[in-house]
Amino acid sequence: MSINLTTHNLVVEFGALRALGPVSIQIQAGQFVAIVGPSGCGKSTLIRVLAGLQAASFGEARLGEQIIRQPSMRVGMMFQSANLMPWRTVMDNIALPLELAGISSIERQAAVYDLLPLLNLEDFAKAYPDELSGGMAQRVALGRVLIQKPDVLLLDEPFGALDAMTREQISLDLLAMWARDRQTAVMVTHDIHEAVLLSDRVLVMSPRPGQIVEDIAVDLPRPRHIEQTYDTEFAYLAQTIRKAIRL
């Protein structure tokens, strides 16, 4: 069951420095929202508040009706780096959330083996992270998020460190998996192209302290595919966003 995500006059300050806000957004259940904005404007901070890793200084963020005060198992997060544990195999990295939740090793194995083909990682269950390419490592991280069956996906530039081709492929993979379960998804990205290709809605933030300056609906038909990027409508949306960032 996906769930609404809202913030109301959310502000985050680090000492005297206002890093974010005020930000008020409503994200409907099952919506895929992309957030773009200049570096240092508070995108990661916003994601961390939604994740329950960072406390709000003023205002609030809610998951459904509940004010977010701590991380929730309903929320899965992907970081900019794959963030794998180098001493664990691919299998054990993906199973980590289940392991921490106290699920038996047999059930964990079964769950991981169900997921590996979707991630294109069948042959690497026993491999260690330092034997993986950057793209494969991020697919492991994606598996680790999906295995907890989250209702919300928080993605903080998850593919930022990948080369363009790998990145396009893996974001389409992500989109396919999102289309099955329709989690509420919030993705921070620097890539306007990626934002338009994946999302229902693009939020553009101002420089620090970041506020939402533009809320652009992306009404392109789903399922999305690469060919759409050549459409005039796509180009127009990308152009609108680019202008909004320059604002």
Binding site: S72, N83, M85, E99, G134, D163
Partner: protein, 290 residues
């Protein structure tokens, strides 16, 4: 001594990625083979380097330029070693075994206590900036005092028995373990801590599933340093006053100008420390092996 497999760079170009994905199965085996070759080379290297020292020693001792009470010949040392190993008559009524096990009987508890204190205190300090500001000046002040200078005081306080030797051992052993624990726990990436928080990991899970494995290479390095120093710690205690132990043996041997016995005692200490080191190194290889 044994290199740990270092994390390799993950950023590779796309072409590199493809070739790597193809040759994946091979590369794992290749790495194991390379590791085995390294171990083999080290296993081979040790006898060779020891032999070289022995030859040099033999050559200098037999050159006639050095008096034999300054540098005994290897044969004389070996002969003494053989004698004291079995026959206690010339070693103050006790065999070498007796003295070695007496020292070991202080080193082992000293090491155990020292490591425990070092790890616990290190963990607390790594976690609490307040405790760090409070405790680190004391620890550093203590550590910069030469232990030989205050060891006699420990004997006055704790008596001439084993206690004071265990204590000197503890004091020497705990510091490297403390420092390595602090560094190890601090080196755990914040990103991985956040990740664990996302899954609502308990304190214990955070410790057991993240901090311990992440800090393990550094903790083991600390243990190796501590294991090597532990013998020195106990022997320093034995130097002050004791009835048995390698520290006593070497003091008495020196007092009676029995240079070969001084050598035997020194080599025994070194062998003891090397053995302890090797045990930790063995554990390390067991843990780090993939």
């Amino acid at each position: 001594m044994f290199a740990l497999p270092l994390p390799r760079n993950n950023k590779r170009g796309i072409f590199m990625q493809q070739t790597l994905e193809i040759s994946k199965q091979n590369s794992v085996q290749q790495r194991i083979a390379k590791y085995n070759r390294l171990l083999w080379r080290l296993g081979r290297g040790r006898p060779i380097s020891f032999s070289l020292v022995l030859i040099l020693w033999y050559w200098v001792a037999h050159s006639g330029k050095v008096k034999s009470f300054l540098l005994p010949t290897p044969e004389a040392v070996f002969e003494t070693f053989h004698r004291v190993l079995t026959d206690g008559d010339n070693v103050f009524d006790s065999t070498l075994w007796y003295h070695t096990s007496a020292t070991l009987g202080r080193v082992l508890p000293g090491l155990a206590i020292g490591l425990t204190i070092g790890i616990s205190l290190g963990y607390i300090i790594a976690k609490s900036p307040l405790l760090e500001t409070l405790l680190s000046p004391i620890v550093v002040a203590f550590q910069s005092m030469p232990i030989v200078a205050y060891a006699p005081v420990l004997v006055i306080w704790f008596g001439t028995g084993s206690q004071s030797k265990i204590l000197t051992c503890v004091l020497i052993v705990f510091f490297p373990m403390l420092m390595n624990t602090i560094v190890g726990i601090r080196s755990v990436p914040q990103n991985l801590r956040d990740l664990m928080k996302m899954y609502r990991a308990s304190r214990w899970q955070m410790f057991r599933k993240l901090e311990v494995p992440a800090a393990l290479p550094i903790l083991l390095t600390g243990m190796k340093t501590s294991a090597t120093l532990s013998v020195i710690g106990a022997v320093v205690g034995e130097f002050i006053v004791a009835n048995e132990g390698l520290g006593v043996l070497i003091t008495e041997a020196r007092g009676s100008y029995n240079t070969p016995l001084v050598f035997v005692s020194a080599i025994s200490m070194s062998a003891l420390a090397s053995t302890l080191y090797s045990i930790v190194a063995f554990i390390e290889r067991r843990f780090m092996r993939r």
